[in-house]
Symmetry: C2
Subunit: 260 residues, 2 copies
Amino acid sequence: MKSKKKYHILVCNDDGIDAPGIYALVQELKKIGTISVVAPDKQQSAVGHAITMNYPLRVKEFKKDGKFFGYAVQGTPADCVKLATRAILKHQPDLVVSGINHGSNTAISVIYSGTVSAATEGTVLGIPSIAVSLTTYAPPDFRYAAQFARKLASMVLKKGLPAGTLLNVNVPPLKKNEIKGILVTRQGKAVWNDTFDHRRDPNNREYFWLTGGLEDVDTDLEFDEAAVRNQYVSITPIHYDLTDYKMFDAMKKWGVEKLR
Amino acid sequence: MKSKKKYHILVCNDDGIDAPGIYALVQELKKIGTISVVAPDKQQSAVGHAITMNYPLRVKEFKKDGKFFGYAVQGTPADCVKLATRAILKHQPDLVVSGINHGSNTAISVIYSGTVSAATEGTVLGIPSIAVSLTTYAPPDFRYAAQFARKLASMVLKKGLPAGTLLNVNVPPLKKNEIKGILVTRQGKAVWNDTFDHRRDPNNREYFWLTGGLEDVDTDLEFDEAAVRNQYVSITPIHYDLTDYKMFDAMKKWGVEKLR
Protein backbone atom coordinates (compact mmCIF):
# COMPACT_ATOMS: atom_id res chain seq x y z
CA MET A 1 0.00 0.00 0.00
CA LYS A 2 1.74 3.11 -1.30
CA SER A 3 -0.49 5.37 0.82
CA LYS A 4 1.13 4.05 4.03
CA LYS A 5 4.66 3.52 2.69
CA LYS A 6 6.76 6.60 1.95
CA TYR A 7 7.61 7.15 -1.67
CA HIS A 8 11.18 7.01 -2.94
CA ILE A 9 12.10 10.07 -5.05
CA LEU A 10 15.30 10.51 -7.07
CA VAL A 11 16.37 14.16 -7.31
CA CYS A 12 18.77 15.45 -9.95
CA ASN A 13 19.57 18.81 -11.59
CA ASP A 14 21.93 20.48 -14.05
CA ASP A 15 23.17 23.39 -11.91
CA GLY A 16 25.29 21.01 -9.80
CA ILE A 17 24.74 19.23 -6.48
CA ASP A 18 25.83 22.33 -4.50
CA ALA A 19 23.24 24.65 -6.13
CA PRO A 20 20.58 26.27 -3.91
CA GLY A 21 17.75 25.12 -6.21
CA ILE A 22 18.28 21.41 -5.57
CA TYR A 23 18.62 22.06 -1.85
CA ALA A 24 15.28 23.92 -1.71
CA LEU A 25 13.64 21.12 -3.71
CA VAL A 26 14.95 18.39 -1.41
CA GLN A 27 13.72 20.23 1.72
CA GLU A 28 10.16 20.18 0.34
CA LEU A 29 10.16 16.70 -1.21
CA LYS A 30 11.40 15.21 2.08
CA LYS A 31 7.90 15.89 3.42
CA ILE A 32 6.37 13.30 1.08
CA GLY A 33 9.06 10.65 0.67
CA THR A 34 12.56 9.31 1.02
CA ILE A 35 14.95 11.28 -1.16
CA SER A 36 18.02 10.09 -3.06
CA VAL A 37 20.11 12.86 -4.60
CA VAL A 38 22.36 11.96 -7.53
CA ALA A 39 23.49 15.08 -9.36
CA PRO A 40 26.41 16.49 -11.37
CA ASP A 41 29.44 17.60 -9.35
CA LYS A 42 29.45 20.89 -11.25
CA GLN A 43 27.34 23.19 -13.45
CA GLN A 44 26.05 21.40 -16.60
CA SER A 45 23.71 23.96 -18.14
CA ALA A 46 22.79 23.64 -21.83
CA VAL A 47 24.35 20.19 -22.10
CA GLY A 48 21.20 18.91 -23.81
CA HIS A 49 20.68 15.18 -23.57
CA ALA A 50 24.41 14.42 -23.47
CA ILE A 51 25.62 11.10 -22.07
CA THR A 52 29.15 9.99 -21.33
CA MET A 53 30.20 6.91 -23.28
CA ASN A 54 33.89 7.49 -23.95
CA TYR A 55 35.03 8.32 -20.41
CA PRO A 56 34.65 6.71 -17.01
CA LEU A 57 32.15 8.18 -14.53
CA ARG A 58 33.34 8.84 -11.01
CA VAL A 59 31.06 9.28 -8.01
CA LYS A 60 31.73 11.03 -4.68
CA GLU A 61 29.64 11.42 -1.56
CA PHE A 62 28.63 15.05 -1.07
CA LYS A 63 27.94 16.58 2.33
CA LYS A 64 25.79 19.58 3.21
CA ASP A 65 25.57 21.08 6.72
CA GLY A 66 27.96 18.34 7.86
CA LYS A 67 25.59 15.53 6.80
CA PHE A 68 25.43 13.22 3.77
CA PHE A 69 23.32 14.99 1.10
CA GLY A 70 23.78 12.87 -2.02
CA TYR A 71 26.07 11.47 -4.72
CA ALA A 72 28.06 13.89 -6.88
CA VAL A 73 28.75 12.46 -10.34
CA GLN A 74 31.46 13.67 -12.68
CA GLY A 75 29.01 13.61 -15.59
CA THR A 76 25.88 15.05 -17.19
CA PRO A 77 22.32 15.12 -15.78
CA ALA A 78 21.32 12.16 -17.99
CA ASP A 79 24.41 10.24 -16.77
CA CYS A 80 23.29 10.83 -13.18
CA VAL A 81 19.83 9.35 -13.71
CA LYS A 82 21.17 6.34 -15.63
CA LEU A 83 23.87 5.72 -13.02
CA ALA A 84 21.48 6.21 -10.08
CA THR A 85 18.94 3.70 -11.34
CA ARG A 86 21.39 1.15 -12.81
CA ALA A 87 24.29 1.23 -10.36
CA ILE A 88 23.80 3.34 -7.20
CA LEU A 89 20.26 2.83 -5.91
CA LYS A 90 19.09 -0.55 -4.62
CA HIS A 91 15.51 -0.02 -5.82
CA GLN A 92 13.95 1.79 -8.77
CA PRO A 93 12.58 5.14 -7.51
CA ASP A 94 8.86 5.95 -7.76
CA LEU A 95 9.54 9.40 -9.23
CA VAL A 96 12.36 11.51 -10.68
CA VAL A 97 12.31 15.27 -10.04
CA SER A 98 14.93 17.43 -11.75
CA GLY A 99 15.69 20.96 -10.61
CA ILE A 100 15.01 23.48 -9.45
CA ASN A 101 16.80 25.09 -12.36
CA HIS A 102 17.91 28.69 -11.97
CA GLY A 103 16.55 30.03 -15.29
CA SER A 104 13.61 29.16 -17.53
CA ASN A 105 13.29 26.11 -19.75
CA THR A 106 10.54 27.18 -22.11
CA ALA A 107 10.09 27.20 -25.90
CA ILE A 108 13.28 26.31 -27.83
CA SER A 109 15.30 26.17 -24.59
CA VAL A 110 13.68 22.80 -23.85
CA ILE A 111 15.92 21.11 -26.41
CA TYR A 112 19.13 22.53 -24.86
CA SER A 113 18.10 21.91 -21.26
CA GLY A 114 20.08 19.65 -18.95
CA THR A 115 17.27 19.94 -16.38
CA VAL A 116 14.73 18.55 -18.84
CA SER A 117 17.18 15.87 -20.01
CA ALA A 118 17.44 14.37 -16.50
CA ALA A 119 13.64 14.04 -16.39
CA THR A 120 13.60 12.68 -19.95
CA GLU A 121 16.11 10.03 -18.94
CA GLY A 122 13.89 9.05 -16.00
CA THR A 123 11.00 8.65 -18.43
CA VAL A 124 13.10 6.57 -20.84
CA LEU A 125 13.87 4.28 -17.89
CA GLY A 126 10.15 3.92 -17.14
CA ILE A 127 9.91 6.24 -14.10
CA PRO A 128 7.36 9.11 -13.91
CA SER A 129 9.46 12.29 -14.13
CA ILE A 130 9.15 16.05 -13.66
CA ALA A 131 11.54 18.91 -14.56
CA VAL A 132 11.16 22.15 -12.58
CA SER A 133 12.63 25.56 -13.46
CA LEU A 134 12.41 29.01 -11.89
CA THR A 135 12.10 31.55 -14.70
CA THR A 136 14.59 34.17 -13.61
CA TYR A 137 18.31 34.85 -13.91
CA ALA A 138 18.15 37.32 -11.01
CA PRO A 139 19.05 36.13 -7.47
CA PRO A 140 16.45 33.43 -6.91
CA ASP A 141 13.90 32.67 -4.20
CA PHE A 142 13.05 28.99 -4.72
CA ARG A 143 10.45 28.71 -1.93
CA TYR A 144 7.20 28.87 -3.91
CA ALA A 145 8.63 26.79 -6.78
CA ALA A 146 9.74 24.10 -4.30
CA GLN A 147 6.32 24.02 -2.62
CA PHE A 148 4.61 23.77 -5.99
CA ALA A 149 6.98 20.97 -7.06
CA ARG A 150 6.06 19.03 -3.91
CA LYS A 151 2.31 19.39 -4.57
CA LEU A 152 2.66 18.37 -8.21
CA ALA A 153 4.93 15.45 -7.24
CA SER A 154 2.21 14.19 -4.86
CA MET A 155 -0.36 14.43 -7.64
CA VAL A 156 1.87 12.55 -10.10
CA LEU A 157 2.68 9.85 -7.52
CA LYS A 158 -1.06 9.28 -7.15
CA LYS A 159 -2.17 9.60 -10.79
CA GLY A 160 0.96 8.34 -12.60
CA LEU A 161 1.99 9.49 -16.08
CA PRO A 162 1.53 7.72 -19.43
CA ALA A 163 4.63 5.76 -20.56
CA GLY A 164 6.93 8.09 -22.48
CA THR A 165 5.46 11.34 -21.11
CA LEU A 166 7.13 13.74 -18.67
CA LEU A 167 6.14 17.12 -17.26
CA ASN A 168 8.19 20.26 -17.90
CA VAL A 169 7.29 22.84 -15.25
CA ASN A 170 8.25 26.53 -15.29
CA VAL A 171 7.49 28.70 -12.27
CA PRO A 172 7.67 32.52 -12.35
CA PRO A 173 9.83 34.15 -9.63
CA LEU A 174 6.85 35.38 -7.62
CA LYS A 175 5.25 34.97 -4.23
CA LYS A 176 2.22 32.68 -3.95
CA ASN A 177 -0.26 35.56 -3.85
CA GLU A 178 1.21 37.05 -7.05
CA ILE A 179 0.74 33.79 -9.03
CA LYS A 180 -2.34 34.13 -11.25
CA GLY A 181 -2.90 30.40 -11.71
CA ILE A 182 -1.63 27.09 -13.06
CA LEU A 183 -1.84 26.33 -16.79
CA VAL A 184 -1.30 23.21 -18.88
CA THR A 185 0.66 24.55 -21.87
CA ARG A 186 2.35 23.70 -25.17
CA GLN A 187 6.03 24.20 -25.87
CA GLY A 188 6.35 27.73 -27.27
CA LYS A 189 7.68 28.64 -30.70
CA ALA A 190 10.04 31.41 -29.55
CA VAL A 191 13.66 30.97 -30.70
CA TRP A 192 16.90 32.65 -29.68
CA ASN A 193 18.22 35.69 -31.48
CA ASP A 194 21.75 34.28 -31.35
CA THR A 195 24.69 36.53 -31.87
CA PHE A 196 28.38 35.95 -31.21
CA ASP A 197 30.74 38.41 -29.58
CA HIS A 198 33.93 38.31 -31.61
CA ARG A 199 36.84 39.05 -29.23
CA ARG A 200 40.57 38.72 -28.82
CA ASP A 201 42.26 37.14 -25.80
CA PRO A 202 45.29 38.65 -23.97
CA ASN A 203 47.53 36.79 -26.46
CA ASN A 204 45.65 38.38 -29.38
CA ARG A 205 44.06 35.08 -30.44
CA GLU A 206 40.46 35.49 -31.58
CA TYR A 207 37.50 33.73 -29.99
CA PHE A 208 33.70 33.82 -30.13
CA TRP A 209 31.22 33.97 -27.26
CA LEU A 210 27.54 33.11 -27.65
CA THR A 211 25.09 35.77 -26.54
CA GLY A 212 21.46 36.75 -27.17
CA GLY A 213 18.16 35.76 -25.59
CA LEU A 214 14.75 34.31 -26.33
CA GLU A 215 12.75 36.24 -28.91
CA ASP A 216 9.21 36.21 -27.63
CA VAL A 217 6.87 35.31 -30.45
CA ASP A 218 4.05 33.68 -28.50
CA THR A 219 1.45 35.78 -26.70
CA ASP A 220 -1.25 33.12 -26.34
CA LEU A 221 -1.37 31.71 -22.79
CA GLU A 222 -1.57 28.27 -24.38
CA PHE A 223 2.24 28.50 -24.75
CA ASP A 224 4.76 27.97 -21.91
CA GLU A 225 6.77 31.20 -22.29
CA ALA A 226 3.66 33.40 -22.60
CA ALA A 227 2.16 31.74 -19.51
CA VAL A 228 5.14 32.42 -17.24
CA ARG A 229 5.53 35.99 -18.54
CA ASN A 230 1.92 36.53 -17.51
CA GLN A 231 2.48 35.22 -13.97
CA TYR A 232 1.14 31.70 -14.45
CA VAL A 233 2.88 28.46 -13.54
CA SER A 234 3.30 26.48 -16.77
CA ILE A 235 3.08 22.67 -16.95
CA THR A 236 3.94 21.25 -20.38
CA PRO A 237 3.54 17.51 -21.00
CA ILE A 238 6.38 16.53 -23.35
CA HIS A 239 7.63 13.31 -24.92
CA TYR A 240 10.66 12.10 -26.85
CA ASP A 241 8.98 10.67 -29.93
CA LEU A 242 10.31 13.34 -32.30
CA THR A 243 8.47 11.96 -35.35
CA ASP A 244 6.71 14.72 -37.29
CA TYR A 245 3.55 12.76 -38.12
CA LYS A 246 2.15 15.41 -40.46
CA MET A 247 5.31 15.21 -42.58
CA PHE A 248 5.39 11.40 -42.14
CA ASP A 249 2.12 11.28 -44.07
CA ALA A 250 2.98 14.08 -46.53
CA MET A 251 6.37 12.63 -47.41
CA LYS A 252 4.91 9.34 -48.60
CA LYS A 253 3.91 11.29 -51.74
CA TRP A 254 7.49 12.42 -52.42
CA GLY A 255 8.37 9.17 -54.18
CA VAL A 256 11.60 8.63 -52.25
CA GLU A 257 11.92 5.13 -53.75
CA LYS A 258 13.37 6.70 -56.90
CA LEU A 259 16.37 7.95 -54.88
CA ARG A 260 17.65 4.38 -54.56
CA MET B 1 17.34 31.26 -60.63
CA LYS B 2 18.47 28.48 -58.29
CA SER B 3 18.59 26.00 -61.17
CA LYS B 4 21.50 27.87 -62.78
CA LYS B 5 23.21 29.01 -59.59
CA LYS B 6 24.98 26.41 -57.53
CA TYR B 7 23.55 25.75 -54.11
CA HIS B 8 25.44 26.54 -50.92
CA ILE B 9 25.51 23.61 -48.49
CA LEU B 10 26.81 23.71 -44.91
CA VAL B 11 28.26 20.39 -43.78
CA CYS B 12 28.75 19.44 -40.13
CA ASN B 13 29.07 16.23 -38.12
CA ASP B 14 29.74 14.93 -34.61
CA ASP B 15 32.60 12.51 -35.30
CA GLY B 16 34.99 15.44 -35.85
CA ILE B 17 36.23 17.28 -38.95
CA ASP B 18 38.93 14.67 -39.61
CA ALA B 19 36.46 11.72 -39.72
CA PRO B 20 36.15 9.73 -42.97
CA GLY B 21 32.35 10.08 -42.98
CA ILE B 22 32.34 13.86 -43.43
CA TYR B 23 35.01 13.57 -46.11
CA ALA B 24 32.96 11.06 -48.13
CA LEU B 25 29.87 13.27 -47.76
CA VAL B 26 31.69 16.38 -48.99
CA GLN B 27 33.04 14.57 -52.06
CA GLU B 28 29.48 13.72 -53.15
CA LEU B 29 27.79 17.01 -52.20
CA LYS B 30 30.44 18.96 -54.15
CA LYS B 31 28.74 17.66 -57.30
CA ILE B 32 25.58 19.67 -56.58
CA GLY B 33 26.81 22.79 -54.77
CA THR B 34 29.42 24.88 -53.04
CA ILE B 35 30.33 23.31 -49.71
CA SER B 36 31.24 25.00 -46.43
CA VAL B 37 32.49 22.64 -43.73
CA VAL B 38 32.21 23.81 -40.11
CA ALA B 39 32.63 20.87 -37.74
CA PRO B 40 33.91 19.97 -34.27
CA ASP B 41 37.70 19.69 -33.94
CA LYS B 42 37.26 16.34 -32.18
CA GLN B 43 34.80 13.48 -31.54
CA GLN B 44 31.52 14.72 -30.00
CA SER B 45 29.33 11.61 -30.02
CA ALA B 46 26.31 11.47 -27.70
CA VAL B 47 26.57 15.15 -26.79
CA GLY B 48 22.86 15.58 -27.48
CA HIS B 49 21.82 19.13 -28.26
CA ALA B 50 24.55 20.68 -26.11
CA ILE B 51 25.61 24.27 -26.73
CA THR B 52 28.53 26.18 -25.23
CA MET B 53 27.48 29.25 -23.29
CA ASN B 54 30.01 29.43 -20.46
CA TYR B 55 33.21 29.12 -22.49
CA PRO B 56 34.65 30.86 -25.54
CA LEU B 57 34.58 29.08 -28.89
CA ARG B 58 37.79 28.95 -30.91
CA VAL B 59 37.99 28.25 -34.63
CA LYS B 60 40.89 26.92 -36.71
CA GLU B 61 41.29 26.33 -40.42
CA PHE B 62 41.59 22.60 -41.12
CA LYS B 63 43.48 21.22 -44.12
CA LYS B 64 43.01 17.88 -45.88
CA ASP B 65 45.31 16.65 -48.68
CA GLY B 66 47.25 19.92 -48.32
CA LYS B 67 44.19 22.07 -49.13
CA PHE B 68 41.71 24.05 -47.02
CA PHE B 69 38.87 21.68 -46.09
CA GLY B 70 36.87 23.60 -43.51
CA TYR B 71 36.66 25.27 -40.10
CA ALA B 72 37.37 23.18 -36.99
CA VAL B 73 35.47 24.47 -33.96
CA GLN B 74 36.36 23.71 -30.35
CA GLY B 75 32.70 23.04 -29.56
CA THR B 76 29.65 20.85 -30.10
CA PRO B 77 27.82 20.10 -33.38
CA ALA B 78 25.08 22.63 -32.48
CA ASP B 79 27.75 25.25 -31.70
CA CYS B 80 29.24 24.68 -35.17
CA VAL B 81 25.96 25.33 -36.98
CA LYS B 82 25.16 28.43 -34.88
CA LEU B 83 28.68 29.80 -35.33
CA ALA B 84 28.77 29.03 -39.08
CA THR B 85 25.53 30.83 -39.83
CA ARG B 86 25.93 33.71 -37.36
CA ALA B 87 29.66 34.44 -37.53
CA ILE B 88 31.68 32.52 -40.14
CA LEU B 89 29.67 32.35 -43.37
CA LYS B 90 28.83 35.49 -45.36
CA HIS B 91 25.49 34.10 -46.56
CA GLN B 92 22.89 31.80 -45.05
CA PRO B 93 23.33 28.33 -46.63
CA ASP B 94 20.51 26.72 -48.65
CA LEU B 95 20.87 23.41 -46.81
CA VAL B 96 22.58 21.85 -43.79
CA VAL B 97 23.74 18.23 -44.04
CA SER B 98 25.14 16.57 -40.91
CA GLY B 99 27.18 13.37 -41.10
CA ILE B 100 27.90 10.85 -42.23
CA ASN B 101 27.84 9.45 -38.72
CA HIS B 102 29.68 6.21 -38.07
CA GLY B 103 26.93 4.40 -36.18
CA SER B 104 23.13 4.42 -36.29
CA ASN B 105 20.86 7.17 -34.97
CA THR B 106 17.56 5.36 -34.70
CA ALA B 107 14.90 4.98 -31.98
CA ILE B 108 15.97 6.39 -28.59
CA SER B 109 19.47 7.19 -29.92
CA VAL B 110 17.95 10.19 -31.75
CA ILE B 111 17.75 12.13 -28.47
CA TYR B 112 21.43 11.54 -27.64
CA SER B 113 22.72 12.20 -31.15
CA GLY B 114 25.13 15.01 -31.93
CA THR B 115 24.64 14.30 -35.65
CA VAL B 116 20.90 14.91 -35.36
CA SER B 117 21.47 17.97 -33.15
CA ALA B 118 23.50 19.74 -35.87
CA ALA B 119 20.61 19.25 -38.30
CA THR B 120 18.10 20.30 -35.63
CA GLU B 121 20.06 23.51 -35.09
CA GLY B 122 19.98 24.21 -38.85
CA THR B 123 16.19 23.78 -38.73
CA VAL B 124 15.87 26.08 -35.70
CA LEU B 125 17.77 28.69 -37.72
CA GLY B 126 15.32 28.30 -40.62
CA ILE B 127 17.49 26.21 -42.98
CA PRO B 128 16.28 22.87 -44.47
CA SER B 129 18.44 20.21 -42.79
CA ILE B 130 19.28 16.52 -43.05
CA ALA B 131 21.16 14.19 -40.66
CA VAL B 132 22.78 11.09 -42.21
CA SER B 133 24.09 8.03 -40.36
CA LEU B 134 25.62 4.73 -41.47
CA THR B 135 24.20 1.99 -39.26
CA THR B 136 27.35 0.05 -38.41
CA TYR B 137 30.12 0.18 -35.85
CA ALA B 138 32.31 -2.06 -38.03
CA PRO B 139 34.90 -0.45 -40.35
CA PRO B 140 32.68 1.67 -42.59
CA ASP B 141 32.24 2.05 -46.35
CA PHE B 142 30.51 5.40 -46.74
CA ARG B 143 30.14 5.33 -50.54
CA TYR B 144 26.50 4.33 -50.97
CA ALA B 145 25.38 6.45 -47.98
CA ALA B 146 27.18 9.50 -49.47
CA GLN B 147 25.58 8.97 -52.88
CA PHE B 148 22.18 8.59 -51.29
CA ALA B 149 22.72 11.74 -49.22
CA ARG B 150 23.53 13.67 -52.42
CA LYS B 151 20.35 12.47 -54.17
CA LEU B 152 18.17 13.26 -51.15
CA ALA B 153 19.86 16.66 -50.74
CA SER B 154 18.97 17.49 -54.38
CA MET B 155 15.37 16.50 -53.75
CA VAL B 156 15.15 18.61 -50.58
CA LEU B 157 16.78 21.61 -52.30
CA LYS B 158 14.03 21.41 -54.94
CA LYS B 159 11.04 20.59 -52.72
CA GLY B 160 12.04 22.34 -49.48
CA LEU B 161 10.94 21.19 -46.04
CA PRO B 162 8.18 22.57 -43.79
CA ALA B 163 9.40 25.06 -41.16
CA GLY B 164 10.50 23.15 -38.08
CA THR B 165 10.91 19.77 -39.81
CA LEU B 166 14.18 17.96 -40.52
CA LEU B 167 15.02 14.55 -41.97
CA ASN B 168 16.86 11.90 -39.99
CA VAL B 169 18.35 9.39 -42.43
CA ASN B 170 19.84 6.01 -41.53
CA VAL B 171 21.57 3.95 -44.22
CA PRO B 172 22.48 0.27 -43.74
CA PRO B 173 26.13 -0.66 -44.44
CA LEU B 174 25.37 -2.36 -47.76
CA LYS B 175 26.12 -2.07 -51.45
CA LYS B 176 23.50 -0.45 -53.68
CA ASN B 177 22.30 -3.80 -55.06
CA GLU B 178 21.78 -5.16 -51.53
CA ILE B 179 19.50 -2.24 -50.49
CA LYS B 180 15.87 -3.40 -50.62
CA GLY B 181 14.36 0.08 -50.89
CA ILE B 182 13.80 3.48 -49.29
CA LEU B 183 11.20 3.90 -46.54
CA VAL B 184 9.67 6.92 -44.80
CA THR B 185 9.63 5.82 -41.16
CA ARG B 186 8.72 6.78 -37.57
CA GLN B 187 11.20 7.02 -34.71
CA GLY B 188 11.33 3.54 -33.17
CA LYS B 189 10.44 2.68 -29.58
CA ALA B 190 13.54 0.58 -28.83
CA VAL B 191 15.51 1.71 -25.78
CA TRP B 192 18.97 0.82 -24.48
CA ASN B 193 19.52 -1.98 -22.01
CA ASP B 194 22.01 0.18 -20.08
CA THR B 195 24.42 -1.42 -17.71
CA PHE B 196 27.50 -0.02 -16.02
CA ASP B 197 30.81 -1.78 -15.66
CA HIS B 198 32.00 -1.17 -12.12
CA ARG B 199 35.82 -1.06 -12.17
CA ARG B 200 38.85 0.07 -10.21
CA ASP B 201 41.62 2.20 -11.69
CA PRO B 202 45.37 1.50 -11.15
CA ASN B 203 45.16 3.61 -7.97
CA ASN B 204 42.29 1.42 -6.70
CA ARG B 205 39.73 4.23 -7.08
CA GLU B 206 36.36 2.99 -8.36
CA TYR B 207 34.70 4.18 -11.55
CA PHE B 208 31.74 3.26 -13.77
CA TRP B 209 31.65 2.81 -17.52
CA LEU B 210 28.40 2.84 -19.52
CA THR B 211 27.81 -0.19 -21.71
CA GLY B 212 24.87 -1.99 -23.36
CA GLY B 213 23.10 -1.63 -26.69
CA LEU B 214 19.72 -0.99 -28.29
CA GLU B 215 17.03 -3.48 -27.35
CA ASP B 216 15.09 -4.12 -30.50
CA VAL B 217 11.39 -3.96 -29.75
CA ASP B 218 10.08 -2.82 -33.15
CA THR B 219 9.68 -5.31 -35.98
CA ASP B 220 7.26 -3.27 -38.14
CA LEU B 221 9.06 -1.65 -41.12
CA GLU B 222 7.19 1.55 -40.24
CA PHE B 223 9.93 2.11 -37.59
CA ASP B 224 13.45 3.37 -38.32
CA GLU B 225 15.43 0.62 -36.57
CA ALA B 226 13.34 -2.21 -38.04
CA ALA B 227 13.74 -0.69 -41.53
CA VAL B 228 17.55 -0.55 -41.45
CA ARG B 229 17.82 -4.03 -39.92
CA ASN B 230 15.81 -5.27 -42.88
CA GLN B 231 18.13 -3.62 -45.45
CA TYR B 232 16.05 -0.51 -46.15
CA VAL B 233 17.23 3.10 -46.06
CA SER B 234 15.16 4.88 -43.39
CA ILE B 235 14.07 8.53 -43.68
CA THR B 236 12.32 9.84 -40.55
CA PRO B 237 10.84 13.35 -40.59
CA ILE B 238 11.36 14.74 -37.09
CA HIS B 239 10.67 18.04 -35.31
CA TYR B 240 11.53 19.73 -32.03
CA ASP B 241 8.06 20.52 -30.73
CA LEU B 242 8.19 18.04 -27.87
CA THR B 243 4.63 18.75 -26.69
CA ASP B 244 2.70 15.54 -26.04
CA TYR B 245 -0.63 16.73 -27.45
CA LYS B 246 -2.55 13.66 -26.29
CA MET B 247 -1.48 14.36 -22.70
CA PHE B 248 -1.97 18.11 -23.26
CA ASP B 249 -5.67 17.39 -23.75
CA ALA B 250 -5.91 14.66 -21.09
CA MET B 251 -4.18 16.75 -18.43
CA LYS B 252 -6.73 19.53 -18.62
CA LYS B 253 -8.98 17.18 -16.62
CA TRP B 254 -6.43 16.80 -13.81
CA GLY B 255 -7.54 20.02 -12.12
CA VAL B 256 -4.02 21.40 -11.71
CA GLU B 257 -5.45 24.75 -10.59
CA LYS B 258 -5.92 23.28 -7.11
CA LEU B 259 -2.12 22.88 -6.78
CA ARG B 260 -1.73 26.63 -6.50
